[in-house]
Symmetry: D2
Subunit: 373 residues, 4 copies
């Protein structure tokens, strides 16, 4: 084995019984230098497939020529994983207050800009990066020690972010409701789309909305832009963060998980984390959209629906997306109606229940997409 | 059209806003006499496919030679349908107190026996049936008017049962979690198994546990047995009640629903509700078990599982049912383990979430099943 | 200190992360022989005040002359305690399937009768008791090891019952929704009502509905009756089990908890568990009802209500219990209506929310009550 | 009667049964001109006391000399009111996705500034106000008709905001968890604090976080500031919006509701909505804080707590706020610990359950408060 695998547990919360709740932290340390990688899964408790991916990653990494260090945190939200509401897992938000478990990471643009303007311009890039990491981890630590305390989701997020903050590569493993695989990639790193075996890619701008990928790339992106401006030449800090959506929530599939692991290893190979990497990106069709063209289709009706369009399969304008049953009109012509695609699109995911209230996110779809491979 | 379709609405509850909640009641009246049929769907709010079946039934019945009368009540639980907990419908039980929506129907064995012993033995069977219906509806009405009131689920159940109580045939349309189609049939009516196009049949004894099918057949079965004993000859009262499980919950599928409707029409044709019925039971494989051989497999572990066995596909003893991931041992040989079939079986349904606590109903399975066609 | 206090932890479940969930078990062992006592609290997760009572009991018992052995299990349901749904604890039932956490204890009347008929009639009562304990614990153990497994609530219940099964005194500490203190006592032990400082007492018959108190006294009561009959003379086996309702759920109050502890100590003193017990039952008003006179008043309306009657304060027939607001009629005379007491009664508890659907348990009340001290 | 009371119903959503959900809208029209007032209650479903306040308001307004028009919308969120999770109402957020029901109102600062810069500076203020109302209602209408639809909470919010948008006074009636009465007032209208009979006042800045009060005052405040700047003299547009917290959620109290109604009438009298108003603001102690001094105290522990400090009663630094029980240490000195006030403060509200996870909002408190009457 060319790597050392060690395991520890990090306390992230305390439950109503007063018991500590912790997450397992697997650390793979290589004998040669290289990038730092941070991978977590299941911040949304029902999105469990990433745990299987991490299982395969650990197994496979043991036999590979790793350079650097990889931190893997499966099941990183022990609260969300364990809230059942009926047979399903109520994993997307804190059941006490509705807070999305993936919106409490730290970012503060002004502090990045202040750092960028103050840092010694004679320093080598590697040193600037190191100083920024220290600066940023300090900022997270300050936030964590707020004198009046913090909410549960934010405490959890910041403890995880502390581990992620000095990584060069951050991968956050999620699932959609009923979903085909897709990936969020910051626009500046769009070449990464070619390195994963994921057909559907979303390029996102430098805007922070609370998630881990944004909390990772926004500061580096902002720093990079400001330093480029200040130094009068392009600065590339080389930090990437992506959210990978590995199919549908509430599902564990070991075979698919192995393919997902291979896809991640192919990307890590391209980024120098694995030397002589036996996993290569597949030659395959890939399509991409800008985030603004990744649309959410909300219903303006409530009712019972059949999903006529399968995630991942293109739909032409006017073709059916859903067929809706009207239980009060079963004896006449208005018993059903069909919701049709407002434009050409690719459905990426749909709501997981046949029963919807008005204002439900029925589908999320690619529009104005382009083929990139 | 040989039938008249009429529609009304029955108030079954009042919500916290003080508003009435009602169910649609479709009544199909034929121009010639025949059996009375009562069909309802979605007493469990997430089990919505039966609504589609009723949609197809109404459509098709308009063109058929119906004898008698058919009451159809889709979406018969407006409370359960509308309780969301996360993206799914919390439809199996009252969220206030956990009461299963399908356990509050009325039955009282002693009252049946008292009726059986008191009824004039010179009456024709049809007259005895009619007297018993009146007697039984009176008993339900008394229960409904309990001086201290009744719980929500029981109020709902009894209002529905009032409509079902004078039917000759009662069909309650349900779904399993992730499930293949199956049907519960009282042992005395086991020939009905040959008339539905449903591969998996469960024969249930004369035991009341609160559900509508039992609440219908238990009194008639008990009455039938007592009268047979008293009169010294077999008495057949000809009332049947079945629970049909039309696949998986949280799913609406129009095409499958049409097949389910055809299957019900084939049965109704056999029972004289449809004359010259163009729908015939299929020649197909059918397997059956006694209720005691329909086993629930509970986990003694908590964790994340892949369901390796598909509902409806036989599994041999020792073959895998589930593969379980242990997130704290991903770095060693105990990272996963496999749960195996304790005997030959057919999985009929499994839990719909990959995340389970100990004591979860992982699978329900046929054991000691026999082929009946 | 005349007693030894030891502490251990019993695993009762495993969560979806695959982690063990355990309960603390405090064992107080006296240096002199005496009865065995088992006390648990919070089987319903939101009913937490009993934990404070156990805290005070442990503290006080250290300084008392205890005879025998006392097992105390606070927070005995680590699953129920930790299910939040909004800001409150969803502690009464398993969120997966609605199973009440206090209905899965073991009882089998036929097995008791078989034992009673088979036991050697020459044995001393103490020996019969010992044999029955062994017999009964064996029956529980068999149930627990059911080959197809058991549901979560039942597994939890049976593991707790295993500890309770050889006790002479079993106290199950609960809370009502918004409630005054009250206690359930088996009819054969009605003198115990005089030994607790609890104003409202309910005498319950030998009927099993799944709760721990019933699961404890039903077998002993049945055995006692059968042996009395068989031996032709009264047999008193001296085992008692009670459910104590220590005020309202969702509340922790240390001062009240100390009074509750004193009340329990007074009872234990009367039963010989504490010698020279400094705590004596208070001279106070006590009223009692038979279980059949402890009525639940359900609403037949939905709406928003003010609770006009305070738990514990007698209400005359016709006096107001609740005032209901009709939001659709605020501009006219039907804006409100008043629900009145159908007879003289003492409200013991009421629903904890102002918003009710039809079929809500609005009040539970004593009717036909009698003063017993 | 000097006023006309009319009633209509506005459809705000459709449920999973496909049924419309509506809110009652009461419109009080005076015979003489005056300000327009909009009052709603229960946007958070468990906060029901405001409905009683509106009941009293309607009753009393019938007998008063009203000028202008008053719209009252009780129970304005029929979805949130009817989601039960256990015995309580899960009313703060959409159970499907966690969205707070009070965060989806419309505001767009850039559009306000564009209007302010474009409006004809020769117009009288009243005409500018009228033009802005039209402009703003158009903006809300555009948002409501988004081509891909909107989420349920936002649809609801915007339909309500459409009614509120042309009011001069907007009052949003809420409740805290366990809470004393308090009120949020925009800084520019701080004199309003003297006109309500509410002891605790919070002055909030011109920052939009999604709530109805902000969505009302932010555009007018911003417009006012920009016009003042542009015209070189103070412009007062005279529009006020406040959130009133009428005590604790899950509670209906008719008598307190009448006092709350009198308090609102006193304010409306001061603002010219009621002529010769018999209700006058009380001479009473009032204290106020800036929003930045209204602190949320989060726990860093999980456990069971007694709330030692009552809402509304000042606490000195170091005095106890909560006492926490540690169920695993009941046999030793660490069985309990006390959480103390970090500074002088007034607790305004506390969490309504004794069971808390780490990161729970235990108290919200006034710090650095000042007496203002």
């Amino acid at each position: 084995m060319t790597v050392t695998v060690s395991k520890s547990h990090l306390v992230v919360a305390q439950n109503a019984s007063g018991r500590n709740m912790n997450v397992p932290v697997y650390q793979i340390t290589a004998h040669r230098p290289g990038p730092k990688v941070y991978i977590q899964s299941s911040i949304h408790g029902a999105e469990v497939q990433g745990n299987v991916v991490i299982y395969h990653l650990i197994n496979k990494l043991k036999a590979l020529q790793v350079a650097g260090e990889i931190i893997l945190v499966p099941n990183c939200n022990p609260v969300g994983t364990n809230i059942k509401a009926g047979e399903y897992t109520l994993g997307r938000f804190d059941p006490v207050n509705g807070t999305n478990w993936n919106r409490g990471y730290f970012y503060d643009e002004q502090r990045v800009l202040a750092f960028a303007d103050a840092v010694d311009d004679g320093l080598p890039i590697s040193e600037i990066k190191q100083q920024f990491r220290t600066f940023w981890q300090q900022a997270i630590a300050e936030k964590l020690s707020s004198p009046w305390g913090l909410g549960l989701a934010q405490q959890l997020n910041l403890k995880l972010q502390t581990m992620a903050a000095d990584a060069d590569i951050v991968l956050d493993l999620h699932n959609g409701p009923v979903s085909t695989r897709h990936i969020y990639i910051p626009e500046y790193a769009r070449d990464a789309a070619q390195h994963f075996n994921i057909e559907h890619c979303i390029f996102i701008p430098n805007v922070f909305a609370g998630a881990l990928d944004e909390a990772t790339f926004c500061p580096w992106w902002t720093l990079q832009d400001r330093l480029s401006e200040r130094f009068g030449q392009p600065v590339d800090l080389g930090v990437e963060a992506m959210t990978l959506e590995m199919g549908s929530q509430e599902v564990v599939q070991f075979a698919e998980g192995e393919q997902d692991a291979d896809s991640i290893l192919a990307y890590l190979g391209q980024r120098g984390v694995i030397e002589q990497c036996p996993y290569q990106p597949k030659r395959m069709r890939r399509v991409a959209v800008h985030l603004r063209d990744y649309k959410t289709l909300y219903t303006d009706f409530g009712g019972m629906v059949e999903y006529c369009a399968a995630p991942g399969v293109p739909v032409k304008q006017g073709e059916p997306l859903a067929r809706v049953l009207n239980i009060d009109e079963l004896d006449n012509d208005t018993a059903t109606f069909t919701l049709r695609a407002p434009c050409d699109l690719i459905p990426i995911l749909h709501f997981p229940s046949a029963s919807v209230l008005s204002g439900t996110q029925l589908y999320k779809v690619f529009t104005h997409y382009q083929q990139i491979s």
